[in-house]
Amino acid sequence: MTGFLQIIRRDLHLAFRQGMDSMMVVMFFVIAVVLFPFGVGPEANILARIAAGVIWVAALLSSMLSLERLFQTDYEDGSLELLTLSPMALEIIVLAKVVAHWLTTGLPLIVAAPLLAVLLNMNAEGFPILILALALGTPSLSLIGAVGAALILGSRRGGVLLALLILPLYIPVLIFGVSAVDAVVGGFEARAQLLILGGFLLGALALSPWAAAAALRQAVE
């Protein structure tokens, strides 16, 4: 347990010392969303119609981009070999790193989302459910993404390869995340969608540390 906390502490430490790491993910998120009005045009009603979708897609993309470095620096400077050789179970180490990653990147996304919803003219009724859905969905994204991040270690095409591997796995989260918001904006309940998102989270929590640890063992061979 102390090892688990030590790793979280170190990763938070690294993130804060490095200056604005979490800020940057949020800023990418904001910019990706802001690109859409340029592409789609400034009409408020069209933007409002696609707001939830755009915000979720941007959250997916920024989560994916930030995950690329989850194990990369440790891999490049040799720390990953040493973590693999530490007496702790590698699965626990992975979980600690994912928790630290979500705290520094997932949480700020959730905070920034309402602002973007305002920019895109989203119906104000959708705000609380958007936050709730993101709170349930982004940890799943981090967990699933960790598997991808571990798989691409040592490959020469980081970013794009990661995108290919994990974006398809993100699609279910996307579908239910958007449909939760759309349901509430349309005057319905979003209970079912939230339950499903919660179920995804539990599943990811149970499976992905194992998969990621196996991939990491492969990578340091």
Binding site: Q18, G19, M20, M23, M24, M27, V30, I31, V34, P37, F38, G41, P42, E43, A44, L47, V118, L119, N121
Partner: protein, 241 residues
């Protein structure tokens, strides 16, 4: 990079003289401008009391643009003549300019709610201000992204010069984009021609914002010089000389 080849004492002496004046001017002009703006000037017959936001909003928007130009000029001097103080000035300007830009966006938004009934519209002017904020944020992110501070300064100087070529292009494209999609924009601000009772507070606030900029920039450069000294002292200590 403040080793013994770029001694900042002359600058520090100069700053010692200027800084109190700037502080006094900022407080004095700012107070006068605010008084005139908030109490002495009339409310607008169309916009009511909310017009008073203008006295903060307009100078802030001006300063947002001005600081970017100042930053680019400083970065160019730093790159070409390798003057470390110019580098520090560019670095010190960025957060101030970003702050002004942010202030313009926030006050604009607050103004927009009563005026247009919405916090935000994708108008050309608003949008290019938003992009300007991103340019500032990118600069600040880059300068802090390196382990070696000198490396960060050089990289971000190149970035700000590339950005300065792009600012007019972005501005022009955004104008074009918006007029295409939305020919008669709601928020063309052709309100009542500004009369003297509104012009005076506006001018005072604009000058106060300028002196505020110089004042804070000097403080930031000083802090930066001190931080560099501390760093190099610690390094020297560590390496034992």
């Amino acid at each position: 990079m403040l080793h013994r080849f770029a001694n900042p004492t002359r600058f520090l002496r100069f700053a010692d003289i200027i800084q109190p004046w700037m502080a006094v001017l900022t407080v004095g002009l700012g107070a006068a401008g605010l008084y005139l703006g908030l109490f002495a000037s009339p409310a607008d017959y169309q916009q009511g009391e909310s017009v008073r936001i203008m006295y903060v909003h307009v100078p802030a928007a001006w300063m947002g643009l001005f600081c970017y130009m100042a930053m680019a000029a400083a970065a160019a001097v730093g790159l070409i003549w390798k003057h470390p103080l110019a580098d520090l000035a560019a670095k010190a300007t960025a957060p101030i300019g970003a702050g002004f830009t942010f202030l313009a966006l926030v006050t604009g938004s607050l103004w927009g709610k009563p005026m247009w009934g919405t916090w935000w519209v994708w108008d050309a002017r608003l949008t290019s201000m938003l992009v300007l904020l991103f340019l500032y944020l990118g600069y600040m992110a880059l300068i802090n992204a390196f382990d070696d501070p000198t490396r960060g300064i050089k990289a971000s100087s190149i970035l700000v010069l590339v950005g300065v070529v792009n600012v007019p292009i972005i501005k022009f494209s955004v104008d074009w984009w918006n007029t295409l999609h939305q020919p008669s924009s709601v928020m063309r601000m052709d309100g009542p021609t500004i009369d003297a009772s509104m012009l005076w507070p506006l001018a005072l606030m604009a000058v106060a914002f300028n002196t505020y900029y110089v004042w804070v920039m000097l403080i930031r450069i000083r802090t930066e010089v001190a931080a560099t000294k501390v760093r190099s002292l610690r390094m020297k200590q560590a390496h034992g000389s």
